[in-house]
Amino acid sequence: MNAVKSLIYRDLCVVKKPITDTLWFIIAMGAAGLLIMLSIRCGNLRPMYEAEDNRLSAEFLMVTMESSFVMTVSIIFLYVAAQSDKKWDNYIISTPLTAEEFAWSKTLVSAASLALALPVGVIYAVAMGAIYPYGTVLPHIRLVLFIVSCLVMLKSVSDISVKYFKSDKAGFAVMGIIAAVVMAVMYIRFIFLADTEDELDIDTLIASLHLEITGSAAPFAAAAVIALTHLVLKALFKRRAD
């Protein structure tokens, strides 16, 4: 148990920086969420939102977005719990640590990450709900927030990519493919929701891009699966052949 405590403590020490990054990411995601809500509520999409069928669709998208957000927060912690550090791995394998202790420490950190992500998601949803009735914003402010959210999103992808895949190329390649597919699906869906081509003006486009950005949380979810798989494999096959 002491060894498990030690490893968790080590993970928490190492995780400080990613937590800071995560906080920025939460702010960016919050801004993106606000933008999407305002776009739907106050932009050219309002008629679409007010139509009963589309209202359901829009709210479905909101739920999806919030879920993505929770997933995104979870993911970063999962990533940290699962991150590979060959030098450290080799070192701790030279200590009396057992595979079970190693697996337990990672499992507990992962569980704690998820437990932390859920209330964060709830707080986020409550904040969104509080803002919802008062939404109105100037287009250029939306644009600035949109760009900022994009940049922070890209930074987060880059961080995860470099740290987890040890290369921004590999990470971006995998995440890029997934993101492209998700964005394409969401874009097609949005065009379908917009109903006519005339409604695809700049506001609609910005709103759709917001959705795409939100949708790009999906690659993080994919990375979570990869990270989790890696975690399990690492725990099970600690003494893997090089």
Partner: protein
């Protein structure tokens, strides 16, 4: 802990990879000695050390450390063993104080007081991030961690290049991985002083892997050479140096030397240098040829060359 004569005993160790096989390696590290484990990059040194530490699963053979099987008694052995690697394994975000807490959970015999003593001795700040340490400070920290749990066996992988003669006496077991490479002389001397203290009771052994032979020639009691995954030579360094001889002769003399009498020969424009493993026999048989004592580096080189060509040109 069981009574043991050899701190490390490896018999028939085999590990197969695609394109590389560690093939039937056998050697022993006598208790209280320094073993130099020598080979070129990619010769299998790190694979052997990983198999010793059970970081990789071996395909065949046995490994005993401190008298115990390294798999059956893994935890017990590792409690008594410390590894020093050339690359610092501690994350930059950690501090020495964090490390003290982490290590205290990993080793039952972790001695925080001793660790703090080493920190003071090495002038290492306990609350500063390791990422802000110099390379020398990081290495001191790793060594402080290695020596703070009363390890009976210290493994240093690729760490021998800067170990000096003061290590010659009282070694127990130390395994190092390029631990002192790149350190300035002052830091290196400090570290070597600590090692000297560590080995002073004559019970501990040191296992140092390296691809550099000159320092080992001064420091090691025993040496083991491997090349391309195969054992070339193992034994006490002095015995190896005494039994081998370098025959300095002409090319014509070389033609007259029985090929079974030497390991390999190097020809130059001035003549030939021939390494033999039986100095006494060579002295009797080729009395007209000048015989010199080879260096460890010569011996390794000639053994390695033998694998490709019995006679080679410089």
């Amino acid at each position: 802990m069981a009574e043991y004569e050899n701190a490390v005993e490896i018999n028939g160790l085999t590990k197969k990879y695609d394109g590389f096989t560690l093939d039937d390696i056998s050697f022993a590290v006598p208790k209280g000695s320094i073993m130099g484990f020598v080979g070129q990059n990619g010769s299998g040194k790190s694979t052997t050390i990983k198999a010793m530490l059970n970081i990789i699963a071996r395909d065949d053979g046995t490994v005993k450390m401190l008298g115990l099987d390294n798999i059956e008694n893994e935890r017990e052995i590792k409690e008594q063993c410390a590894a020093v690697f050339d690359e610092i394994p501690f994350q930059d975000a950690l501090t020495a104080k964090n490390l003290d807490f982490i290590m205290s959970g990993l080793y039952k015999s972790w001695n925080s007081a001793k660790f703090k003593e080493y920190l003071e001795r090495f002038s290492l700040p306990s609350k500063k991030k390791i990422g802000k340490f110099s390379k020398g400070m990081k290495m001191k920290l790793q060594i402080a961690a290695a020596l703070s749990h009363d390890a009976k066996l210290l493994i240093m992988d690729e760490a021998t290049s800067n170990i000096d003669t003061r290590l010659e006496s009282n070694a127990r077991l130390l395994i190092m991985d390029e631990a002192t490479t790149g350190l300035d002389p002052v830091v290196r001397n400090e570290i070597l002083d600590i090692f000297l203290e560590y080995m002073a009771d004559g019970e501990r052994s040191v296992f140092m892997s390296s691809h550099i032979t000159t320092d080992l020639e001064k420091a090691a009691d025993c040496v083991t050479f491997i090349d391309k995954g195969r054992l070339l030579l193992t034994g006490y360094k002095d015995d190896i140096l005494e039994s081998h001889a370098m025959l300095r002769c002409t090319k014509k003399d070389l033609d007259e030397i029985d090929k079974t009498d030497y390991i390999s020969a190097r020809t130059t424009e001035f003549g030939a240098d021939v390494l033999t493993a039986d100095k006494a026999a060579a002295a009797r048989k080729y009395s007209g040829i000048m015989i010199e004592k080879p260096t460890l580096e010569d011996i390794i080189l000639y053994y390695v060359k033998e694998k490709t060509s019995k006679v080679w040109t410089a």
